[in-house]
C-alpha cells in the first residue's frame, strides 16, 4: 500500500528524518511509534504532501506520491481544530469538498456519518458551542468522510473520554475491515497492542525497529518465566537458570526466572517438581511498552 523509501528531511541544522524506509501492507493497521520529537509528524506530513522530503521517495499503491493521492488519504493531525465560528455542517461540506468530493456527494456522505454518530442535530451548531469531545467526533468524520483508502491518525485518542475512544476505535476497526489501511502515530502502547498488526519505531530521526507486532514480541522474548510455588526450594544455585526476583507472600514464593539458552522450561520443571508444589507458571512476554522503553533507552 505505502512504500516509504530512504526518506531524508533536513531542517536547517536539525535532521528530522534520517534515511527512513518503511513498508506498510495493504489493509493493515500500522503503528508509527516513537517518543516526542522523533520525527513521526515530519514523516506524516511528507506522506500527506504537506512538505516534501529532501531525499527519498514514497509510493502509494505502486505509484509515486502525487497530488492526485490527496483524495485517497484521510488525515487527523495531532494538532487539530475546526473553524470556531462556522456551522458544523457547512464546515464538513467545505472540508469534504477540499478533498475533492462534489457538493451533493459530500452532503450525502456527511448526513450518513452524522446519522451513524447520532449527531444529526448538530448541523447548524457552531463549533464553539460544542464540547471538546464532540469536536473530536466531528474531526474524525472530517477525516474519513471521503472514504480514504489510507487513514492517518496522529495521536487519535488524546483528549478522548473512554466512551468516545471506544466508539472511535470501533469505527476505525470497521473502516479497516472495509479495506482501509490505517496508520496510527502514537506513543500510547496499550492502543498499539490492542489494534496494530505491524509497527515501526522511530527514534532520533531514525527507524530503529519495525515488523509485525507478533514477531517483534517473539524477538524480544528472553526465556523469562514467572513461577509460584509453596514449599522450600533447597538448592538455588544451578547452571541453567538465574533468579531475577524473589518474593514471599502468604507462604507462597513468587520467582522470576530467566532460563539460560540451551535449556527449556521443561528442564526447569524437572528441577523444581521434586522439591516444591508448583501453583503457577507463566512466560513473561515483553509488552510493547517494555520494548519501546528498552529501545529508546539504548
Amino acid at each position: 500500500m505505502l512504500s516509504i523509501r530512504n526518506i531524508v528531511k533536513q531542517y536547517a541544522k536539525h535532521r528530522a528524518l534520517d534515511n527512513v524506509s518503511i513498508e506498510i501492507e495493504d489493509g493493515s493497521i500500522f503503528g508509527l511509534l516513537g517518543p516526542n520529537g522523533a520525527g513521526k509528524t515530519s514523516l506524516i506530513r511528507i506522506i500527506n504532501q504537506i512538505t516534501a522530503p529532501d531525499q527519498g521517495e514514497i509510493f502509494l499503491k505502486g505509484e509515486k506520491l502525487n497530488p492526485k493521492h490527496i483524495s485517497m488519504i484521510g488525515y487527523l493531525p495531532e494538532e487539530r481544530g475546526l473553524y470556531k465560528k462556522m456551522e458544523i455542517g457547512e464546515q464538513m461540506l467545505y472540508l469534504a469538498q477540499l478533498k475533492g468530493l462534489s457538493k451533493s456527494d459530500a452532503t450525502l456522505k456527511i448526513k450518513h456519518w452524522f446519522e451513524k454518530m447520532e449527531i444529526e442535530s448538530w448541523w447548524h451548531k457552531k463549533v464553539e458551542d460544542l464540547s471538546k469531545g464532540m469536536q473530536q467526533k466531528v474531526q474524525f468524520i472530517a477525516t474519513v468522510v471521503h472514504d480514504p483508502k489510507l487513514i492517518i491518525l496522529d495521536e487519535p485518542f488524546s483528549g478522548f473520554d473512554p466512551v468516545n475512544a471506544q466508539l472511535i476505535t470501533d469505527e476505525i476497526l470497521d473502516l479497516n475491515k472495509k479495506g482501509a489501511t490505517i496508520i496510527f502515530s502514537t506513543h500510547r502502547m496499550e492502543s498499539v497492542e490492542q489494534l496494530c498488526d505491524s509497527i515501526a519505531l522511530i527514534h532520533q530521526s531514525k527507524k530503529i525497529l519495525d515488523g509485525k507486532v507478533k514477531d517483534i514480541k517473539n524477538q524480544y522474548r528472553n526465556n523469562t518465566y514467572r513461577i509460584s510455588f509453596s514449599g522450600k526450594l533447597e538448592r538455588q544455585e544451578n547452571d541453567f537458570f538465574t533468579i531475577n526476583s524473589e518474593k514471599l507472600d502468604d507462604g507462597i514464593t513468587h520467582l522470576t526466572i530467566q532460563i539460560k539458552s540451551g535449556h527449556s522450561v521443561n528442564d526447569l520443571l524437572h528441577y523444581l517438581m521434586p522439591q516444591v508444589q508448583i501453583s503457577e507458571l507463566m512466560e513473561i512476554i515483553p509488552s510493547m511498552n517494555d520494548i519501546f522503553i528498552q529501545n529508546v533507552k539504548n
Binding site: 506530513r45 529532501d54 487539530r80 473553524y83
Partner: protein
C-alpha cells in the same frame, strides 16, 4: 470545483454574512449623508423657522423694497435704534437691520441679533442691499438700469487643462478632495483588510484547522484564497458604499434642494445668468455641483487598481506575519516594517506631495510599489502622464508578485510552527527552507 475557488468562496461568504459587515456597509454611507446633511442644515440655519428681519432705514433709500426670500423675511420698522436694541435684548428671535443716514458716505449697515445670523440670511440681505444700491446709484447718475442690464456682458473664464490628449475641464478643488479621500480610503483599507488577512491566518493557526486544510490544498492556495476572498469583501464593501451613497445622496438632494431650486428659478430672470451663478445656494449644492465635475470614470478605475494592487502587496506581508505568530500581541514587532512605509507615505501625501505634485520625490513615491497606492491617488488629480501611471501600475503588480512569493515561503513553514517565539532571523531561515 477548483479548490482555490472553494477557499475564496468560504473566506468571502463567511465575512460578508457577518453582522459587522452589514453594519459597516450601511453605516458608512449613512454617516456620510448625515455629515453632509449636517453641513447643509448648519449653513441653512433656520429652515422652518425663517427669521424676520426688521429694517430701520434711516437713509430712506431701501424703504420697503426688500423682498421676502426663503431664508429670510423682511418687515420695515418705525422703531428708533435704541428701542430696537432693547427689543433685541429682550426677544430671542428678533433681528434688526439698521441702515444709517450716512450710508452713501461710508456708514456701515448693521444687523443686530442675540445669536449669529446664518450665512444665508446675511448673504441674502447683502445681495438685496447691493442690488438696490446699484439701481439707486445708477438712477442718481442718470443711467437707466434696464438699459445697463441689456448691455451687460456675460463673460466667464472656464479653466481648461491642455495636454497632448486634448483639452479637458479642470477638475479643480473637488477632484483634489476626491483624490485625498481616495488616498485616505486606500490607506485605511490596506490596514483594515490586511489585518483581516492576518487575523484569519492566526485564527486558522491557533484553532489548528490549518493542518487539516493543507493536507488537502497547497499552503499557497490557502494563502491566496484568503487574500483574494478578503480582497473581494473589500471591493464589495466599496461598491455597496458607492451605490448606497449615490442613491442616498440623490434622494437627499431631491428632498433638500427641491424647494430651493424652484424658488431660485422663479427668482432669477432668464436674462441674468451671471447673477444666477452668484446667488448663494449654501455649501450643500456647491459640494454636489463640484462632485459632478470630478472625472469619476478616471478616478474610480484608478482607485480600484491601486487599492487592489496595494492590498495584494501588503496583505501578503500581513499573511506572512500572521503565519509566524500565534496571538495578536506577538504581531507588534513584525508590524513595524509594514506600517512604516504606509504611514510615511500618508504623512508625505498631505504635507509634501499635495504642494509639490510634480517634484521628483513625489514622482518616486508614486512609482515605488510600497508607497504608490497612496501617493499616486494624491497626485492623480493634478494630472499624471500616462507613462508614469502605467509604470506605477506595472511596478505595483511586480511588487505584489514579489511580496506574495516571499510571504508564501515564510507562510508555508510558519503555519505549522507551534509554540515558538519567532524573530526576523527565524523568518529568514524559513524563507530559505526547501519545500
Amino acid at each position: 470545483m477548483n479548490k482555490t475557488l472553494l477557499i475564496i468562496q468560504r473566506e468571502y461568504l463567511s465575512r460578508v454574512k457577518k453582522k459587522a459587515f452589514l453594519i459597516m456597509t450601511f453605516l458608512v454611507p449613512l454617516l456620510i449623508i448625515a455629515m453632509y446633511a449636517l453641513i447643509f442644515f448648519l449653513s441653512m440655519r433656520g429652515g422652518d423657522n425663517t427669521p424676520t428681519v426688521e429694517v430701520i432705514d434711516e437713509s430712506g433709500i431701501f424703504n420697503k423694497s426688500f423682498e421676502n426670500k426663503r431664508s429670510v423675511n423682511f418687515k420695515s420698522s418705525t422703531l428708533s435704534l435704541s428701542e430696537a436694541k432693547k427689543k433685541v435684548i429682550n426677544e430671542e428671535e428678533a433681528f434688526i437691520l439698521f441702515i444709517p443716514k450716512d450710508i452713501k458716505s461710508g456708514g456701515s449697515i448693521e444687523l443686530f441679533a442675540q445669536k449669529n445670523a446664518g450665512l444665508s440670511v446675511i448673504s441674502s440681505i447683502e445681495n438685496q442691499l447691493n442690488e438696490q444700491m446699484r439701481v439707486k446709484l445708477l438712477q442718481d447718475a442718470g443711467i437707466d438700469s434696464e438699459t445697463l442690464d441689456k448691455i451687460k456682458p456675460n463673460l466667464s473664464v472656464v479653466s481648461k487643462e491642455l495636454t497632448v490628449e486634448g483639452e479637458k475641464d479642470s477638475s479643480s478643488g473637488a477632484a483634489m478632495a476626491v483624490g485625498f479621500a481616495a488616498a485616505i480610503l486606500i490607506y485605511m483599507s490596506l490596514f483594515i483588510y490586511g489585518i483581516q488577512v492576518m487575523r484569519g491566518i492566526i485564527e486558522e493557526k491557533t484553532s489548528r484547522i490549518v493542518e487539516v486544510v493543507i493536507s488537502s490544498v497547497k499552503p499557497f492556495q490557502l494563502m491566496m484564497g484568503k487574500i483574494i476572498g478578503i480582497g473581494l469583501v473589500g471591493l464589495t464593501q466599496f461598491l455597496l458604499w458607492i451605490v448606497l451613497s449615490v442613491g442616498l445622496m440623490s434622494i437627499a438632494s431631491t428632498i433638500l434642494f427641491k424647494d430651493q431650486v424652484e424658488q431660485e428659478k422663479s427668482e432669477i430672470p432668464m436674462a441674468d445668468q451671471s447673477a444666477a451663478a452668484a446667488t448663494p445656494k449654501g455649501p450643500g449644492t456647491d459640494i454636489l455641483k463640484a462632485l459632478q465635475t470630478v472625472e469619476w470614470n478616471y478616478i474610480l478605475p484608478a482607485f480600484i487598481v491601486f487599492f487592489l494592487g496595494g492590498y495584494m502587496l501588503y496583505s501578503a506581508l500581513f499573511a506572512a506575519v500572521g503565519s509566524a505568530v500565534e496571538t495578536d500581541t506577538e504581531t507588534q514587532q513584525f508590524m513595524l516594517p509594514i506600517t512604516l512605509p504606509l504611514l510615511f507615505t500618508y504623512i508625505m501625501s498631505f504635507s509634501f506631495i499635495v504642494n509639490n505634485p510634480d517634484s521628483s520625490l513625489s514622482f518616486w513615491l508614486s512609482i515605488i510599489p510600497f508607497t504608490s497606492p497612496i501617493a499616486m491617488m494624491v497626485r492623480l488629480p493634478f494630472g499624471v502622464p500616462n507613462w508614469e501611471l502605467a509604470l506605477s501600475i506595472v511596478l505595483l503588480i511586480g511588487g505584489f508578485l514579489f511580496t506574495t512569493w516571499v510571504a508564501s515561503r515564510i507562510y508555508r513553514v510558519g503555519i505549522l510552527m507551534y509554540g515558538k517565539k519567532v524573530s526576523f532571523k527565524e523568518l529568514g531561515k524559513w524563507f530559505m527552507y526547501n519545500e
